[in-house]
Symmetry: C2
Subunit: 521 residues, 2 copies
């Protein structure tokens, strides 16, 4: 009976949003909860929501909570801007569905979303989790990388259909290379098909960005505004998430309603604040230092991208070198997982028997399906098995000292997906307060872009050198010397890549370091 | 120049299979390599390949290496059995493609694979990585769970097409509940469509299993044999992987050829054994105790399921409580990842700046695409950016003390996918030798099945009690007492699930522990 008492004391059910959170299997929850500086958390939350520069490294406000409730935005202009986008979006989706806006081959049937990071993960999650399958209003495709073969694969799926495909290009600055490259390649494909790209294109971008100027100059179908106070990983409530949902026929207003209702609950300055409970459980499970990984196990196929979405939301927000006082902290919280019970036939073997270096978040969905389930054996449905696997695994882990959280949803629908995502967004905000990091910038991502640029400059120098000496062949070391670089290894890697795409010639030696490279005549 | 020297000394290129392995960014590689008991590893490898009971806990041989080279199988019967399946498979795929074997609505156009764990992950990886897109010979669908809503989604995609859909049911014993439930639900769908399931069904199962008997009794189109010496996670070279590949139009013989060639290389008793290099690098990076997670980052969209495949192969093989001498070791090696550069806009922020609790395996593919790439800016292609992101990230991690391995492939084709998978299969065998665990059983998975059964029994008792007292309502504690169980928490969870599917009635109280449940009259 002790476990039942602990369960009753540590399980919270939020009637208003039909969500349960059970932290009874996080051993030190109470001790950690007692120590949490709630005053700080709520003060920071209030400041952020009222428009303070919460993302101080980038000198930006953090406004994703306004997106579902413009009434709380800190200025009249912002309130208006947010609700105007809603109206524009509704009218635009209606015009696309009705055929008032058409592609060159007729009514739009497909949507190709070009974007990376939050510009892809949010719409991918929502559109998979809330799909009506063949009854979706439009078919969705994604280009979320700069892999030429991946671009070819996406375009092959759309072959002969580009004239009825709406292309959404999402990039705040317009400068994200993967997105810009994808757009350029898709543009070429429209040219090859003797179609005009701009007559099928929509931009989602900040005003006066490179992309905004291009779209306006070329007369694209539409330009939706983005704002610097919305981060990619929290952009699902902006037009970035809402437009693909609306086009597919998902009730994006119910989705926003779910987020708004959860936001209200997470503003409550009490113990029964769901995001405070969740963030405290994370802290308790990982000692506030990410000592254990968060394994996300939704027992529902529709939610199998949720872990990937959270991987970005949590790891990109919390994975920081410095805290807010510039102390070296190397913080973070590792997230992985797919779905149950499928994963029980894979890595859950290690969770049960291997290292105790994780805690699980089980996501339980009470409703098995929209219709009635047949019995597979006497009195037992396929869904009973799913529930049985969840409960059995959870208990076995617990008995073996492996901690877990369980979230319970009645259903996976637009409203409850909104509830779930808003819960995690706020829990990330709270946890960042607890460990004192800026959850809203991503210096490593910016640094990654710069590092790639340096390397592309090196490639230009290499090609220049080979072009200037067309009859000669060079070893990697020769080239390094000639162009005045000591990155022989990277020069070698670049040469191999260029040769692998028949852009230069390679004469192999017995050891690769002695390979000789030459301009292709 | 020091880094270049280290790179040259620690990078290995295997001409025969066109694969490169660079371990220069694993700091203690040399020290660990010097200590590896190679004699033990090669002795165990030879014993395993010659048919010893390498999976001693289950009293089974471990024969996946024979599947691509029957000549080395330990008996004439096995040699014959393996090559006979190849012939049967070829003839069957030909008959399906030619229309000699048809469904009730005509030529088969779709394949629905029902299976979980290795029975799904292998075919999913191969069929995605080697897809020809719209030019695939057949369209593939998967059912890999017992989620009723997920089953509905898969069936919705096949609505009106079941008569031209071939259903492959894969289960060694036929007793895996998820697979059996999926099959039962699909069977119902055929009945609703007034079609005969058996005329569209193929089984892959051990001889005389429950599934084998059912298939033979009902006269299914075909029964392909499986053997107890092939584990699910290493079944991709068996008919489990080969049949979906062949049906989709993938050259499965080249795939097997790649595996066979890699197997030959990993039998070499020398330093230049690619699997020995890889397993040593894992050991060096994780201190032989899984102290760091393995992040898999292929910079190629086609390979984005590879990490999920490895997650099973590695974590299910190595995640063990006991070593071979029954010492408590709680071993394992955590695997996660998706693809680059996409992930650079997500969790790679944490890898760059957060905790140093991982090492990365970069997978570089030299060829960008089958055709010629257009220039996005002067002299630079989309593929150059992809390469630049890989090299930039790798270097930045290295400079920050984060270790990595880099694998280089010329291309992702059937042969090289075979090479890659066979490399990891053998590396897992070797690593298991190093840390002395049985890599071929999965006691936790079996335990999970049993735990679920206990819970389903509890559900039966609950329903029995409510049915016997139809006019009364009960709290979870009442029921626990009545049926003589002290698992009140699980009883409550089961009641909520039953009520959530309208199979019993729930009368809510202010606290959920006081909810009252009643039989639905």
């Amino acid at each position: 009976m002790d476990m039942w008492k602990r369960f009753c004391d540590h399980s919270f059910y939020f009637d208003a949003v039909e969500l349960g959170i059970d932290v009874s299997k996080i051993g030190t929850f109470d001790e950690v909860f007692a120590k949490v500086d709630r005053e700080k958390i709520f003060r920071e939350m209030a400041a952020l929501e009222s428009g303070s520069i919460a993302n101080f490294d980038e000198n930006r406000m953090v406004g994703h909570y306004w997106l579902r409730n413009p009434a709380i935005a800190p200025s009249g202009d912002l309130k208006t801007a947010i609700s105007e986008v809603w109206n524009t979006l509704d009218r635009f989706a209606y015009a696309i569905h009705s055929g008032d806006i058409c592609g060159q081959s007729g009514k739009f049937k497909n949507v190709l979303c070009i974007g990376i990071g939050g510009s892809a993960l949010g719409p991918q999650l929502a559109c998979k989790a809330l799909s009506h399958g063949p009854r979706n209003k439009m078919a969705l495709f994604f280009l979320d990388n700069t892999d030429p073969d991946g671009i070819d694969s996406a375009l092959a799926e759309l072959e002969g259909k580009l004239g009825e495909t709406l292309v959404i290009v999402t990039s705040k600055s317009g400068g994200t290379p993967e997105t810009r490259n994808g757009m350029a390649e898709v543009n070429f494909a429209y040219e090859r098909a003797k179609l005009t790209f701009s007559r099928h294109a929509v931009a989602i971008t900040c005003e006066d960005s490179q992309l905004d100027r291009q779209a306006k100059k070329e007369g694209w179908l539409k330009c939706f505004p983005m704002w610097d106070w919305v981060g990619g990983r929290t952009s699902i409530a902006s037009v970035v998430g809402l437009l693909p949902m609306a086009l597919q026929g998902i009730d994006h207003k119910k989705f926003l309603g779910g987020m708004r209702d959860m936001d209200s609950l997470t503003r409550v300055h009490e113990k029964t604040n769901p995001a405070l409970i969740l963030a405290t459980a994370w802290y308790a499970a990982t000692n506030g230092k990410g000592e254990k990984a968060m394994v996300i196990l939704p027992y529902k196929d529709r939610l199998d991208l949720f872990s990937k979405f959270l991987q970005q939301l949590i790891m990109e927000s919390l994975g920081k070198k410095l805290d807010r006082a510039n102390n070296m902290v190397e913080q973070g919280l590792t997230v992985y997982g797919n779905k149950g019970s499928t994963d029980q036939h894979a890595y859950v073997q290690q969770l049960r028997d291997g290292m105790n270096n994780f805690f699980v978040t089980f996501i339980e969905v009470l409703s098995d399906r929209s219709g009635v389930s047949p019995f597979i054996e006497e009195g037992i449905t396929a869904g009973d098995y799913l529930e049985g696997f969840l409960l059995g695994t959870r208990q076995a882990l617990y008995e073996n000292g492996r901690e877990s959280i369980t979230l319970t949803l009645g259903n996976v629908d637009p409203y409850h997906l909104g509830v779930l995502i808003a819960l995690y967004e706020r829990a990330v905000s709270f946890y960042a307060s607890m460990v004192n990091v800026n959850a809203y910038h991503q210096p490593g991502v910016e640094a990654g872009k710069k590092a790639a640029n340096t390397i592309l400059q090196l490639q230009k120098s290499i090609l220049q050198h080979l072009r200037n000496n067309p009859k000669q062949s060079f070893s990697p070391e020769n080239i390094a010397q000639a162009i005045g670089s000591d990155d022989v290894e990277i020069i070698f890697k670049l040469l191999e890549h260029l040769a692998g795409n028949r852009r230069i010639q390679c004469q192999k030696s017995t050891h690769f370091s002695q390979n000789m490279y030459q301009f292709l005549s």
